[in-house]
Symmetry: C2
Subunit: 415 residues, 2 copies
């Protein structure tokens, strides 16, 4: 029996309805914030992702050659495609460009709890603006999305890559080595960061200060202690966020996100209920466009891991009430089938979601099917009632039945 | 500059909004008909598509090996994945199973008008039922979807593969050769079908009758002339369709769709405005599950080419009115920016789609941006008005301005 490929999933109707419902919530929040939706292809020139993340990314890409010998890759994330699209086609749009997107991404890695080879991300980018207001807007959108989903237990951690970058630069770490060190610091791998910095002749005291910085975590009052431009920037950001109603955030200078293209503010959202794989959202301010052949343009963006946030919601017991169809039409005998078909068509035309037995089932079986389809009403079409231009309307919840004129059926169902 | 791969597209905000709008229409019709949405992975075991369509399909597949040496392929269509999903996980659900899905498919072919390497399909399947009512439901859903989109000029052509199959069997064409001949007949390639049938010793007179059958086209009254079981079936189907309000259909026994797995009714919808590539929808009744390791189950399904139908709508001049945001907030000076931010957050919380200048622009430039974002109102936040807890509300259509209390701003905007 052929199965779906390892690390991918089928979404059956109940689960799909739930996913579409929450996807719709995310979309409507983004639209409310003045973001507009875009879509890019499922695969891209593999070079795009190598430019963004370095050649190591090939190890986890689904990369392949097409029949024209082009090197393509299924997208592992959607920021690079969004910025490529901006460089190709949106350079002349009024700034800031505010876009969002939702879709599948692909990463060849060991499938485990909440991690899939085909996974879904919701992302947003503000392109062409580099103010604290821009960063605040991104964080506020992420927060509003998570709120809209109903998740209760989550933590927003905001950092600024400029603090550590400045410190490393002051300590004599050359620019091209910074990313490597930051990646280790991001994961708090001090034992691996230490020999790296020793090789770069970083003073032991300074190293201590750097480790201490990555451990600087606390409420928003902690920004008073953050030195230099980054401190000033974070104070401004926090004031704006507070005006936006987002004040339950944590400052964490250890959030550095280990990618070379981040330029300043970085943030992550985690749902502690998820354990080791607790990050549900991450983002920050960056420049990428110049890597793809465009001018250098400042942007801020983030991505929400849709599968993971749904998992966190499940763990919190957030339930979603499945909707059913409004009516299920049951012809009592074969000779009223055409009439039942007409009634079905009439109800659908009136906007009522409606289904009908198409397998010639007997009443009891048909009503059982109506139950499984969560129908609110069964419309029972019998010969005797039809003589009075009527049908029997059965409330599937209470079991109550009444005779209703066909001409009044729509309003009887719509209540 | 890196571009999106050949045959793929980016969808910028205006186009994406239009696509989501019409996708939503299709979805809501399907739900109204009692179908439920599902989703399958972007790629599958390549074998799945070979089983469905034969090894020739490899020529147009995006096929690749993953790092575990599995042969995978981007899906070229979604019926085989849907039936695989049914075999894997939905065998015990009450029948008929009525599902639909929407998404990207991939075919490596020469890109041309309305044909892309990444294209979008909307499809539906009724699984586990083999009645004329089942086929009618599928055709009626396709028709209602096309109606909902507003397309005016289209033609539904219904055929029955049983007529030609019976004729070929009677003429002594062995079962395993039927598909090959039908493929030629489907494309009206008589010059290629003739030598094939001659090799199979088909009588010249019978061959003439076969060619005549494939040219049997006309209104529903033509079914009276269709012989045997297939004729009886089509007459019943047409009566049900008519009860469903779908009577503008054509019978065309030349529609055979050249795929081995079709078992009876087949149908196509074409939009003549599209010229040579005019087919916008195709489907029929089939069995596939037994090829994928399940029991043999009768199904009826169809797929709508979303890109092509949008193109047909464009050619008919069907326009879609873009919506804009409700309000754009403009702080007149830097010292009221925080207050403006609070107002923006308040409006969003009230469900008003709202954006705010985040680039510190002067009034005239900010209003220009508000126009480009199609804002209905500009909310101008100035120091003087704030002293009276008010702002200036500007109707972006008429240019009229009035002073409005902040506490009454939500209702002033909601009208």
């Amino acid at each position: 029996m052929i199965q779906c490929p390892r690390g991918t999933r089928d979404f059956l109707p109940d689960e799909m309805e739930r996913r579409r419902y929450y996807e719709g919530k995310l979309r409507s929040v983004a639209l409310r914030f003045g973001f507009r939706e875009t879509e890019t292809p499922i695969f891209e020139d593999a070079e795009l992702f190598i430019l963004r993340s370095g050649p190591n990314v090939l190890n986890e890409l689904y990369a392949f050659k097409d029949k024209g010998d082009r090197d393509l890759a299924l997208r592992p994330e959607m920021t690079a495609p969004a910025i490529r699209m901006f460089v190709n086609s949106m350079g002349n749009e009024p700034k800031p460009i505010k876009i969002f997107y939702f879709g599948q991404c692909f990463r060849y890695e060991r499938p485990q709890g909440g991690r899939y080879r085909e996974f879904f991300q919701f992302g947003a980018e503000l392109i062409g603006s580099a103010t604290p207001d821009t960063d605040a807007e991104a964080i506020a959108l992420a927060a509003a999305m998570i709120e809209a989903l109903g998740l209760k237990n989550y933590k927003i951690r905001i950092g600024h890559i400029g603090v550590l970058r400045q410190k490393l630069a002051d300590a004599g770490v050359p620019n091209e080595k910074t990313a490597e060190v930051l990646q280790k610091l991001d994961k708090k791998l001090y034992d691996e960061a230490r020999p790296m910095m020793e090789d770069l002749n970083v003073d032991q005291d300074v190293m201590g200060e750097i480790f201490e910085l990555t451990e600087t975590v606390g409420g928003t009052d902690i920004v008073d202690k953050v030195p230099g431009e980054a401190g000033k920037y974070l104070r401004s950001l926090i004031a704006i966020l507070s005006a936006m109603g987002v004040s339950d955030v944590e400052i964490d200078l250890g959030v550095v996100r280990g990618l070379d293209y981040y330029t300043g503010m970085v943030f992550e959202v985690e749902a502690p209920a998820l354990g080791a794989e607790k990050q549900i959202c991450g983002g920050g301010s960056y420049t990428l466009s110049e890597l793809f052949g465009g001018e250098k343009v400042f942007s801020t963006g983030f991505a929400i891991g849709f599968d993971r946030i749904l998992l966190a919601m499940e763990k919190e017991g957030i339930t979603y009430e499945q909707t059913g169809i409004d009516a299920y039409v049951v012809p009592v005998s074969e000779d009223v089938r055409i009439k039942a078909t007409e009634i079905t068509a009439m109800l659908r035309k009136a906007g009522i979601s409606c289904d009908m037995d198409i397998m010639g089932r007997k009443m009891a079986k048909a009503l059982k099917y109506a139950s499984s389809a969560r129908a609110k009403f069964a419309v029972i079409v019998g010969k005797n009632e039809l003589e009075g231009d009527s049908v029997t309307l059965r409330d599937m919840g209470s079991g109550d039945q009444e005779t209703v004129l066909i001409s009044e059926l729509v309003s009887a169902i719509q209540g």
